[in-house]
Amino acid sequence: MGYPHKPHPKETVVLSKYFGDAEARSYKGWVKRGGYEALRDALKQDPGTVTETVKASGLRGRGGAGFPTGLKWSFMPKEKKRAHYLCVNADESEPGTFKDREIMRWTPHALLEGTAIAAHAIRAEVAYIYIRGEFTEPFAIMEKALAEAMTAKVFGDLKIHLHRGAGAYICGEETAMMNSIEGKRGNPRIKPPFPAASGVFGMPTTINNVETLAAVPHILKHGAEWHQKLCLSNPKSTGTKLFSVCGHTARPGNYEVTMGFPLKDLLYDLAGGLPPGRTLKACIPGGSSVPILNREETESTLLDYEGCVAKGTMLGSGGVIVFDDSADMVYQIMRLARFYAHESCAQCTQCREGTAWTTKILERILAGQGKTSDLDLLLELSENMTGKTICVLSDSCAAPVVSGIQKFRGEFEDYITGKKRPVLAA
């Protein structure tokens, strides 16, 4: 919904039902709204049964990768020989994405309940909720909610701890997050081994996104079939998703729609279209790490995992960044490249040097010192940065660069030929 929190009629309100409702933050308020019933039921069930339900629901990871959640849970060892851990990814730092913050700010108990159900399913004794350092308000709200829930003893033996990040986008990568929890630099790990085999402290671990876990209590309450039916297009993409609409839009905000919802309707209807007198130029549907769509593509994309892939992009985190005709695509892509250059952990050569070089070439173009060969250089450099590193930050930098040059080549050429005046100092 936009702000103030009033759902649009075309939204499917599940996760966002209590956004804007301050009473829902308290334990009592949450229980009054039917909270913690799903957890009580889940704790009575066999962990395997809970996993099967989530598997059958078709829920997929909402952090960006879209990996089937129940399947991920089933990777944990069948025989319980060692401590199991659940890590909750509340590091939300993907440009364009601001949904997990809302979930934590307004419905902290939804996250806690989902965490506890997941922990039960994977037989974890401890859960760490990794909240990015800048989220001071959500952290305080989560702290209070956690204390209340602990007092009410709803979690059984499960220990839930909040762990505060300290400013690193890369810690949203699951293996980097585990390193960060262990008190190390947030460097992603090479895989194998995979977290379910050797994760945090070398123990079997599952990492889930905030939005993913917030959906779990609903699935347990209403059943897998209910979740499966929430589907407008491809049966492999089910449930609802919070799409964070931002940039050049009249009503920025989080909009909750059923999977398969047309992106066109999200932008023009729910988010109120573009600022007055402006037309759509481009849109990134899934956070800055996915390819940019041009106007025609944007207006024909269905918002689910397969629908986005069909258009050559990805659903990602669902951070929808809108660019109208006043946007300088070259400048914005440079700014995105600079983001990745700042956030690179420095392990892999392609990422460490490539993100910085990409940024420098784009800055040079914006300073009026670009050459025609620079565009081929950027494309080749992006090719070198794709599919060759420990994690996909490198690929993420390449995505807007490649799609930007492919679809908005004219804007780059305008700077190179001098048709457009430099906007940066040389």
């Binding site: 702000y3 401590a83 939300e92 730092s93 993907e94 440009p95 364009g96 994405t97 601001f98 997990d100 913050r101 990015r132 350092g133 800048e134 989220f135 001071t136 308000e137 952290f139 305080a140 220990k159 701890h161 762990h163 505060r164 990040g165 300290a166 400013g167 690193a168 986008y169 960060s180 929890i181 262990e182 008190g183 190390k184 630099r185 947030g186 402290f201 964070s244 609409v245 931002c246 940039g247 050049h248 920025p252 905000g253 989080n254 800055s288 951070g319 960044i321 809108v322 660019f323 946007a327 400048y331 914005q332 700014r335 995105l336 983001f339 700042h342 956030e343 952990c345």
Partner: protein, 171 residues
């Protein structure tokens, strides 16, 4: 999470950080993890909360308390951008200028802040010692452009127009 404490200018804080309540906080935190090392990020937050920044001396103290080497701790401190390795102004301001906010005028907000506070240069502390302003990457509030943080306060929807009043509030 209280605001940063600043020792008066000119005095060297030679007392250890982990005494009294801070030590009790750390001991409580240590119970959450199977290793001492895992308490490193929380420990560094405690230091920054007490001192306003993390000096090399603090790094050595944290290392000793957690059974790590100073070099190791320093490597971690320099990785995470929210830990200050130098003293900063009374108010530390972070402005998001990544693309979604950039599209909505974030850079104009930065300019307004620099002018209004007298800091004039990114990363520098204003002459009156009250402000340090930096650009940061996505703050996760893209729908509330432009979000800024002043110390631990997260403030949404800042525009050049609302900057003067905001600055006044913190003076």
């Amino acid at each position: 999470m209280s605001g940063a404490a600043h020792p008066p200018e000119g005095t060297e804080a030679v007392q250890p950080v982990f005494v009294g309540k801070t030590l009790a906080d750390l001991e409580r935190i240590l119970t959450r993890y199977p290793t001492k090392q895992a308490a490193l990020l929380p420990a560094l937050w405690l230091v920054q909360g007490a001192r306003g920044w993390i000096s090399d001396r603090d790094v050595a103290e944290v290392a000793e308390v957690l059974g790590l080497t100073p070099a190791y701790v320093k490597g971690v401190v320099t990785f995470y951008t929210m830990y200050h390795q130098h003293p900063v102004g009374r108010h530390f301001v972070q402005v998001c200028t990544t693309s979604p906010c950039n599209l909505c005028g974030a850079e104009a907000v930065v300019q307004a802040l620099l002018e209004c506070t007298g800091a004039n240069e990114l990363g520098a502390t204003s002459p009156d010692g009250k402000w340090t302003i930096i650009e940061v990457e996505c703050l996760g509030a893209c729908g509330f452009a432009t979000p800024i943080m002043i110390d631990d306060d997260f403030i949404e929807s800042v525009t050049p127009g609302t900057v003067p009043e905001l600055v006044k509030k913190y003076l």
